[in-house]
Subunit: 896 residues, 2 copies
Amino acid sequence: MAKWTYGFGDGAAEGGAHMRDLLGGKGANLAEMSVLGLPVPPGFTITSEVCNHFYANGETYPADLRAEVDGALGQVEKTAGRRFGDPGLPLLVAVRSGARASMPGMMDTVLNLGLNEATVEGLAALTRNDRFAYDSYRRFIQMYSNVVLGVDHSAFEELIDHRKEDKGVSRDTDLDGNDWRRLVGSFKRRVQEETGKPFPEDPLEQLWGAVGAVFNSWMNQRAITYRRLNDIPESWGTAVTVQAMVFGNLGETSATGVAFTRNPSTGVAEVYGEFLVNAQGEDVVAGIRTPQSLTKAGKAANRSRMPAMEEAMPEVYGQLVDIQHRLEAHYRDMQDIEFTVEAGRLWMLQTRGGKRTAAAAMRIAVDLVREGVIDEAEAIRRIEPSSLDQLLHPTLDPTAPRTVLARGLPASPGAVSGRVAFNAEEAETLAHQDVSVILVRVETSPEDIHGMHAARGILTTRGGMTSHAAVVARGMGRACVVGAGDLRIDYGKQQFTARDRLVKAGDIITIDGATGEIMLGEVATIEPAVSADFELLMVWADRFRRLAVRANAETPGDALTARRFGAEGIGLCRTEHMFFDAERIVAVREMILADGEPGRRAALAKLLDMQRGDFVALFAIMAGLPVTIRLLDPPLHEFLPHGEAEQAEVARVTGRTLEEVRHRTRALGESNPMLGHRGCRLGVSYPEIYEMQARAIFEAMVAARSTADAAVTVEIMVPLVATRIELTLMKAVIDRVAGEVAGEAGARLDYSVGTMIELPRAALRAGDIAAEAEFFSFGTNDLTQTTFGISRDDAGSFLETYRQRGIIEKDPFVNLDIEGVGELILIAVERGRRTRPTLKLGICGEHGGDPDSIHFCHKAGLDYVSCSPYRVPIARLAAAQAALAEADSPEVASRE
Amino acid sequence: MAKWTYGFGDGAAEGGAHMRDLLGGKGANLAEMSVLGLPVPPGFTITSEVCNHFYANGETYPADLRAEVDGALGQVEKTAGRRFGDPGLPLLVAVRSGARASMPGMMDTVLNLGLNEATVEGLAALTRNDRFAYDSYRRFIQMYSNVVLGVDHSAFEELIDHRKEDKGVSRDTDLDGNDWRRLVGSFKRRVQEETGKPFPEDPLEQLWGAVGAVFNSWMNQRAITYRRLNDIPESWGTAVTVQAMVFGNLGETSATGVAFTRNPSTGVAEVYGEFLVNAQGEDVVAGIRTPQSLTKAGKAANRSRMPAMEEAMPEVYGQLVDIQHRLEAHYRDMQDIEFTVEAGRLWMLQTRGGKRTAAAAMRIAVDLVREGVIDEAEAIRRIEPSSLDQLLHPTLDPTAPRTVLARGLPASPGAVSGRVAFNAEEAETLAHQDVSVILVRVETSPEDIHGMHAARGILTTRGGMTSHAAVVARGMGRACVVGAGDLRIDYGKQQFTARDRLVKAGDIITIDGATGEIMLGEVATIEPAVSADFELLMVWADRFRRLAVRANAETPGDALTARRFGAEGIGLCRTEHMFFDAERIVAVREMILADGEPGRRAALAKLLDMQRGDFVALFAIMAGLPVTIRLLDPPLHEFLPHGEAEQAEVARVTGRTLEEVRHRTRALGESNPMLGHRGCRLGVSYPEIYEMQARAIFEAMVAARSTADAAVTVEIMVPLVATRIELTLMKAVIDRVAGEVAGEAGARLDYSVGTMIELPRAALRAGDIAAEAEFFSFGTNDLTQTTFGISRDDAGSFLETYRQRGIIEKDPFVNLDIEGVGELILIAVERGRRTRPTLKLGICGEHGGDPDSIHFCHKAGLDYVSCSPYRVPIARLAAAQAALAEADSPEVASRE
C-alpha cells in the first residue's frame, strides 16, 4: 500500500532532500533540516502522488489518505505538545504547496490554520495577547478566503480602511485587539455574502479545504502556462506541506526574516539578509515596514538606524550564522533561508538554493572551488551560460530614474543612449562627429549595415528576435531593440511618436537591449568588467569542453573582440559584409550593372585590392588560427537601392542611365529572395566573382606570410550547395586560381574547400557532397527557414500567435529545432563522415551561440561551434557543460 | 581471351539481336537478319568493348585486334567473292558506328571505303561503268575527308560548282565519268592542302582511319551532351560495323529505299515507304531527287506520276513485303527498314523499331494485340505516356503557313489563336463576347486567374515551365507559352514588340503550347479526337495499375474533364481559386481589410453561400468519388491589388479609405511569401476562415445528399503543416463545425481530415503527424522548393545555366528529385504508416502527372497520384507501366 504522508520535526524525518520528486522542494528540505537536527517546527508532507491520484480519479483522494493525515497530524500534536482545534492548547498549522520545481501561479501558503471562535480565545489566553490572537485570526480569514474560497483581497482591505476611518487612525498598528475582533466578525459576514456559506469553523474542514486548494491550483491556467513555458511535465504533480505554526509576532523577542549564506548580488561570502521584529513572514513580503539588516556591516551599508539582528538578538544571530554554515556545507551551495524567532527561539522554515546574479554566481562558484567545497566541474555546471550576457555588455544603472516610452523585444543586450537618426547615412555622419547614435528604422536591410556599424544602438518597429536588425546587431555586439510596434515612424517628418510622445531626429533616447525598454533622454549606465573569476572559470571550462569555439567575424574589430573572448578561429567570415562600405559599393554596383563578363571583370578588378586588404588584416589578427571564409552569398539585388534618388545617384556614379539602373533592379528583383539567385548559384552564373574572391584570399595568404611569421589556415566555404556538382564546379574555380597564385608567388598554398549545409537536400545528400567537401558548416539559420518553410523576415506576423497557442515553445531561430532541423544535422553528420571520416564539422548559424543548441552540437559530434564574438564565452561554458553532462550520463544523439 | 569482332552474312552470324550491348543496335540487328536467312551483305562488327579498351588505355587498341580484323575481313572477302584492295575484284565496305542506343552527334557512315587509284579502275571495269566508279570514288573522298579528316563539305561543293560552271551545266547528273575523274584529282589536292597529308591510298589505312573516327566521335562534345541529356552512361561505348558495299546506283535495276512495316503517322497496317532508282542511300537523305512511293496506294495519295516500286520492280517488291512480314513477326513490333536493290537483287542494310507518332503508337499497339502478336501488358509498355499529350490538345495544322514572331517555353500543350489582351479584366470582357483571347502578361499572379480562365491561351515574357502561368494553365488545360524573353510588353501603350514587329491589344496571334512558338495572325489547327484505341488502351492500363489516379480540379468544368479522362476522384481542390471570381473577391477583400474577428466573420458569412455552392456542384459531378479539399493556402496579400487605381477601387467597393487599403497591403507584404503567413498558419491566426470553409463543406454534404442519391466522400486537407499540433488545432476546429452542422441537419457526416506533406520538417515528423492525420498528400511543388531552397518563381534566372553546366539534368519541378525530395517522401511514408498503418497516401504536386515521378510514387507505395485533368490518361498509363515494371523486376524504393 502506498504511503501518502511523510512526517518531520524534532530531529527526525521520514523523508529527506533526495525525495524532492515526492515531497516537493519545500517538504524535502524541511525533512532534510530535521534530520540534520536543526530546529524545524514539526509537520508532514502529503506527497505529489496524491496529486496525481487526485487528477486520475475525478478529483478524489485515495481512500486511506484521511486516516494517514489524521495519524500524521497526531504525531505533530504530540511533538508540538498542542492539539488541533483544542481551545485550551490549540495547534495552528501553515499549509504550503511545494512542487518539484518552484512554480509561480500556484496556491502558495495559508498561515494560522486551525483558528476559530474557540481556539482564538485559547491562543489569546495562552499568549496573554488579545491583539496578537485576533490579528492572527483575521490574517487567517483573509488568506484562506482569498486562496481557498476565492474572495478578493479588496473586500477585506475595504473593511479595515472603514475601521481605521471610524477610529481616525491611519496605520494597522493603531488597531487594537478589540478592533480586530470586530473586524473578524465583519470579515465573516462578508465571506458569507460573497460565497453564500459561512466561514468554516471546523479546523479539519479548514485543513482539507486548503489541501484541496493546493491540488486545484496545479491545474489553473497560470500554472499550466508556466509549466508549458518551462518544460515541466504535468505528471510531476505538487505536494502539500502541513507544518505547526511558530510566531514571529509574539512581541519584541520574536522576529521573522530571510537570509542568504552569501551576497546574492556580488557573491561575496558574508551573511546577507533582513528581518522584522514582531512580525509574521507575510509582513516582510508586503513591504509595509522597512526590514532591518542581519549584520552590522549591512546596517552600515544601508545607512540604517535600526539595529541589526547581530546587535538586537546576538545569541539567536549566532545560532543563525552557525546554521547557515552547516546548511551551506551540507548543500554545498549558497542557500536562501527563511526563519522565524518565536519568543527568543529560532525556527527554520525553509532552505533552498539561492537565486543570484551572473556576477554572484561566478564569484560563488569560484570561491566554493577555492574553499574545497566543490570541484571545478561542479563550478562549471552551476553557471547558466546565457547569464554571462549580463557581464559582457553595459547595463543601465538600476538606480537611475527613467521615462519609458515603449517596449520592444530585447534583441541584443547592452544599454546605450544616443541621438536618434532615421537613416544609415545620417547615422554615419553623426558617428564621424563622435556623436553617439541610435539608428531608428521600421526595419533594416543590408544597405543599412554601414549605418548599423556606425550606430551604438539599433531600434526597429518591425521584426523579431532574429530579424535582420537583431542578427546583425548581435553579430556586431550593438545594443538592439526590435519590433517596438507602439512606435510610429514618419520618415518624411523625421520623427516618431510613442503614443502621445513625439521624438525628433537628433533627440536623445536610451535603449536597453536586455529588457527591450526604450527611454526618453539619457539614462546612466554601468560598464561591465570581465573579472578575474570570469577568466578563471573560462580556463576551467576550456579544460572540459570537446567542442572548439570560433566566432563569426568580418571586421578587424570583431576579430579582435573574438580573440579577446577566447575564440579559437573564425568560423564564418561573411564576405558580402565587406562590400557595403561606401567606396566599395560603387564597384559592386558597377559589377552588377555591367553588360557582360568583361564589364563585370573590370569592376571586380577594382574590388580585388580592397578584398585582399580585408583578408591580410584578418589573417594578421588571427595569427594562424583557422579562418573560414564564405564566398559571396546574398542575391545581387540586395546591393542595389530601391529609392528613385538613390538609383539616380547610382546611375551618376556608375555612368549609366537611370533607366538602365531601374531596369536592372527590376530584372534582378525576386519573389522569394531567400530561395533565389544567391549563394553558389551566383558562383555558377558568374564564376568571375568567386574567382576574384579566391584570388584575394590566396594573394592575402602570400602577403600575410611575408609580413608575419604565423601560418595562415584558410578554409574556403561555398554557400547554399544543394548538389555535389555545384561544389565540384566551384572547387575547380578555387583550385585553378590557387594554382595561378601559387605559380605567380612561387609559394605553396595550404587551404581547404568545404561547404555550408543549409538546405535539407544538402543534408540528405551529405554523403555525396562530402566526396568534394573537406568540411561542413551547418548554416542553421537557412536550414531552419527551409526545413520549417518559414521566412525569418516574415515570421513576426505569426510566430507570436504560435507561441501563445502552444504550437512552438521557443523561437526555432534562437533555439535549434532538435526534432526537425536536428535530425537533418544528424543525417548529414552520419553520411558525411561515412564518406570522409576526417570531415571537419561545425555550425555557424545563430544557434552556435545558444546553450541548448550547443549541447545538441556536442552530442551530434560536431568539431566546433561558431557564434558572434560576444557569445564566445557563453559557448565555451555551454560546451564544457555539454561535455560534463555527457560524462555524467553518456548518450549519443540518435535519430528516429 | 576476349573476342573483339563478330562476323555476319550468308545466312549465319556470330551474334544476334540479344547482343545489342556488345554490337550496338545496327550490328546486332544485321547479325539477327543474317541468322533469319535474310539477304544481308556480309560484314563484321568491332564490339563496344574495344571502345572501352580504347579509352581505358590512352586511345590504343587491344594488341590482338588487328589480327582479328584481318581474319574477319578475310571471311567477308570469302563470302563476297572479292578482295579488299584487289584492283581486279575489289571489295568495298561501309563503316558505320552503332551504339546500344541511337545517338546523333557521333560519326555516322563512310561508304565505298576501299577505293583508290587502282581499285576504282577495277570497279569501272567490273561494272563497265566509268561514271559510276568515279562518282563512287568522289563520294568516298568527300565523306571520308569530312568525317575522318575533318575537312569541311563546302571545300568539295565549291569544286563541283566550278566544274559545272566550266561545263555550263547545272545538275550533278550532267557530269560524266571524266568530269568526276578530274574532280577526284582536285578533291585530293584540296585534302592535301587542308590536312598537309595526301589522301590515303591504302585501303587498310582507310579502314583504320574510319574505325578510329568512330571511336573518337564517342567523346566529342555533341555526343557527350546528348548522353548527359538522355541518361546514357559513357561506359556503354560504341561498336563499329564494317560491311561489304552493295550498290543501288548501278543503273535502272538498282535502287535504294526505306520502308516502315506500318504507317508511322497513323499506325495503319500498310506498306509505307519510299525509294530512289539508281541511287545510293545518301541521295535519299540529301533530298535532291523526290523519292517514289513503294506502293500504288502511296503513289495515289501523293498524287505522284513516278511509278511505285510495286509497279517498277514487282518481283523485288514482293520479296520486300515478304521480308517486312517476317521481320515484324520476328521483332513483334513495327520496323523501320533500309534496303538496297543492286542489279535486281534485294539486300537488307538495317532494321530497327520505327519511330511513330503518339496516335500511330496507340494504333499499332492495339492492332498488335488484336493480331495476337503481343499481349496487353506489352502494348502498355510500348506507349510513352507523355506522348499522349499530343492526343489531348488541338494541334496546329502542319500544312498551314505561319509567321513566327518569337519563341518561348512550351508550358502547356495546345495550339490556339485569339485576340491579344493585356489584363485579366479585358480578357474576361472579351471572352463574354465569345471572342477567343490570348492573355499576354509579363508574368501572372493569382489575381489573373479569372482572366486566365477566360482566355484560351496564355503568353508570358517571364517565368519557366513551372511558373505560376505554366502551372495554372496546365491545370486548366489552357495552351500556354512562357518566358518569351524576346517580347517587350508596354502595358501603358497596350502593345508588345517582337524584335521589329508590333502587336497591339486586339490583334490576333497564335501560340503553340507544344512548341513554344508565337505566330502572327491565325494559324489553322486540327482538333484531337480521343480514339477507340485510346479508350481501349486505358481500359487495359486500368487492369494493371495499382496506383489510383485522381485529378486536381476546382471548377465543374475541370471536374467534368477529369471524369471524362477517367479520374477516380479529386486529389486536390484548391479552395483559393474559388475566391478570385469578381463577385467573391470583394467579400474576400472585406474579410482581409476587417479590423477584427467580428468584421472578418461578417465578410466570411457572405462567402459561405458561394463556397457551399461550389462544393454542392463538385459533389454532384463526382458522384461519390473522393474529393480532397484543401483549405485556404496562399498569403492574404495575394488577394489585394498593388496598383493605385485598383486599390482605390477596392477602397470604394469595401467602404474603406485608400490609405487603409494601402496600409493593409503594405502591412501584409512579405519578403518571402512562399515561406510566409500562409497555409495552416492562416488557420491558426484566423480560425474563422477555416471554420467558414468547413461549414461550407459540411452543409454542401448535407445538401448534396438530399438532392442526389450518391454518397459524398470528403477528405479535408490542412496545408503547410510543420508540426503535429498545428493539425491538432485545425482538426479541432473542423470537428467542432462538423458536430454543429450534423446537429443542425440531424445527419451523420463522414469525412476524414489529413494534411499536405510539403515541408521537410513535416516529412521528418510524419510519425508524429500521422497520429492526427488520416491521410497525407505530398505537395511536391512546395516540398521541392523547400528541400532545394529554390523558389519556382525565381528559378528562371539560373535553372537554365544549371542545366547547361550539367548540375541538374531535368527541372526538379517537372521531374521529381528522387535523391532529395524522394528520400523525404520515403521517410514520411515509412514513419507515417508505422504510426497509422491505414494512412492513405497520395501526391498532388505537378509531379503527379509526370511519368518518371509516377513510377517513383508506385515504388514508394503511395495509394494514388493526382494531376491536372488533362494528364489523367498519362498518369493511368504511367501507373500501369510502373506496375508492370515492378512485376518484371520486383524492387522496392529504398533510402540511403
